[in-house]
Amino acid sequence: MIKKILVANRGEIAVRVMRSCRELGIGTVAVFSDADRTAMHVRYADEAYNIGPAPSRESYLNIDNIIGAAKKSGADAIHPGYGFLSENAAFSRRCSEVGIKFIGPDAYAITTMGDKITARQTMIRSGVPVVPGTTEKLTDEKKAVEVVNEIGFPIMIKASGGGGGKGMRLVRSMEDLLPMLRMARSEAMNAFGDDAVYIEKYIESPHHIEFQILADQHGNVVHLFERECSIQRRHQKVIEETPSPLMNPELRNEMGEKAVAAAKAVNYEGAGTIEFIVSDNLNYYFLEMNTRLQVEHPVTERVVGVDLVKEQINIANGLALSFKQEDLKQHGHAIQCRIYAEDPDNNFMPNPGIIKHITEPLGLGVRYDGYVYEGYEIPMYYDPMICKLITWGQTRPEAIARMRRALYEYKITGVITSIKFLERIMDIPSFIAGKYTTHFIEENSEKLLLKKKCGTECEDMAFIAAFVNYMDKLEKIQPPKYTDALGSNWKDFGRKRNVLRL
């Protein structure tokens, strides 16, 4: 059985994984770059090892250094979290070669699902519907025209080698097809070192709905229902929820079965996600499989009542799943907001910096998965996500009301965050009605920039606070006394009870 796990990640996901390890009585090993000595995952872990300089490719993406730390610490397993090396087949293989259990699927599953065209072919063979389009890498422009003639416009050109919007082009007419195709291929080559692209029918009002699956080493595969992830900005998910407002029980069963089939097609092991694109009239198509834990996994955990990281570890230990499909039920509704250190009013420019003050939202039905603390400096080298904020309610309206409440009481200063942007989403009628597609943010961009009103009195209070603070600072310019200076190493707690005697 696994006794010590190295978490090959940082930030909130590293802390989240370590929490489950601790609950299982498993030792935890953190790795950190030079920029992360003071990061919470280093403080939280039982052990911690430096794995290199700040840039990711020299530390969190450096397989040799991570394996080195694992050996040094005697860890018998590695949890990759998400991002970084979590979908890196070479890393999974390397772990296996050195006798350290990689908590996730083997290199075969990662590779198969990592290449979009191979994944599409595999899904077609397994009876999972895919978006109409090419099933092979497009190199021939004539072939492209043929495919488009068959499936009709609009179509989407996508890079075979990766995602994130790179190498993607929406084409609505024949005259744009070839120029767009060439641009997409050149962009794909720059981004992924591979100019292979493929063409898919473009779904006009798409919903992004994904299914969580768990697969053990004994061939048991279950799904843990869907997550609705259509609220996206630049192909990055912003808000996720479960159940999906679009879903019905029949469709859920059917898509769940297809998700299980997709996982079985690659002899999957561990936790994974099958992403589907769903049209307004409830046609669904396989989009891709993420062969790792997802950022949005907590909404599933809350509604289904399963700790997905514990399940990953149990599976890695060779245990059979402790539940069957029919044992799993959805209870209530959960919503997750991702909070980023970015400025929504300034084109979402990232905003690293020092956390001066933080008040976490707490209480009934609120889960806060974060990693920053007062005085912590968010480094500029990594992802700007500060935390995941999850609320649960008996009903969707209750979960929304609770999210509004949680966002209200979440205070963080020092860095600019997306909190107020998320608050505005909670007030948009189509979100409240649960009628939205992946175009939601685009379609509501004006409303999402409208700020709440702060009347003259509210504005005056802001003036007054700044003014009073300024006056107090002026008064303190006089050089402080000897004892005060000594005390300045400690926070000023308003009243000094203990006179320092030296």
Binding site: N351, H357, M380, P384, T413, K452, I464, A466
Partner: protein, 169 residues
């Protein structure tokens, strides 16, 4: 003690008329507020006025006179204006806008590209410098037809928030 205070859109006259302990009488543009104000945490003020409870968070920005102020509803950039600020402000009016002729990064980051050189003639909208932070690249562009006067950083440099990187004329 009378000061001016501005949030960009509005400049108000502010006077501290009285202050004893938590209680203060402050006039903003002549409107008197009888308030109870306490700094409950460093930089966080609780104000009670007419029973209403306000939480106001301050972050000092570029100077000790400039604040980013969070109220429940809105975030303001507020500046306390004293004689010195007025002098600087007046001088800048005479000399043209200081801010428009320099490029500063609003956040810490790494300079990834400087596609211009000193003495070069640039046009409005032309990219002058690219800074990367948190896996995102931000391009800073010229606001008009100008000449690059000075480049204070080089590619690969780490810059702090508000650090001036480029000067134009």
């Amino acid at each position: 003690m009378s000061y001016e205070i501005s949030n960009g859109n509005r400049t108000a006259k502010i006077d501290l008329l009285n202050r004893v302990g938590n209680k203060a009488l402050i006039a903003v543009d002549g409107h008197k507020y009888d308030i109870d104000i306490v700094e409950v945490e460093a930089g966080v003020y609780s104000i009670l006025f007419n029973g209403e409870s306000y939480n106001i968070e301050l972050i000092e920005s570029e100077s000790s006179k400039k604040y980013i102020v969070n109220t429940f509803a809105k975030t303001f950039n507020i500046e306390v204006i004293d004689a010195e600020s007025k002098y600087i402000s007046n001088r800048n009016k005479g000399a043209g806008l200081e801010g428009a002729n320099q490029i500063a990064s609003p956040m810490p980051g790494k300079v990834v590209r400087i596609p211009v050189s000193v003495g070069e003639q640039v046009t409005a909208g032309q990219t002058l410098i690219v800074v990367e932070a948190m896996k995102m690249q931000s391009e800073f562009k010229s606001t008009g037809d100008k000449i690059i006067r000075e480049i204070l950083v080089k590619e690969g440099d780490i810059v702090n928030a508000h650090q001036v990187m480029l000067k134009l004329e």
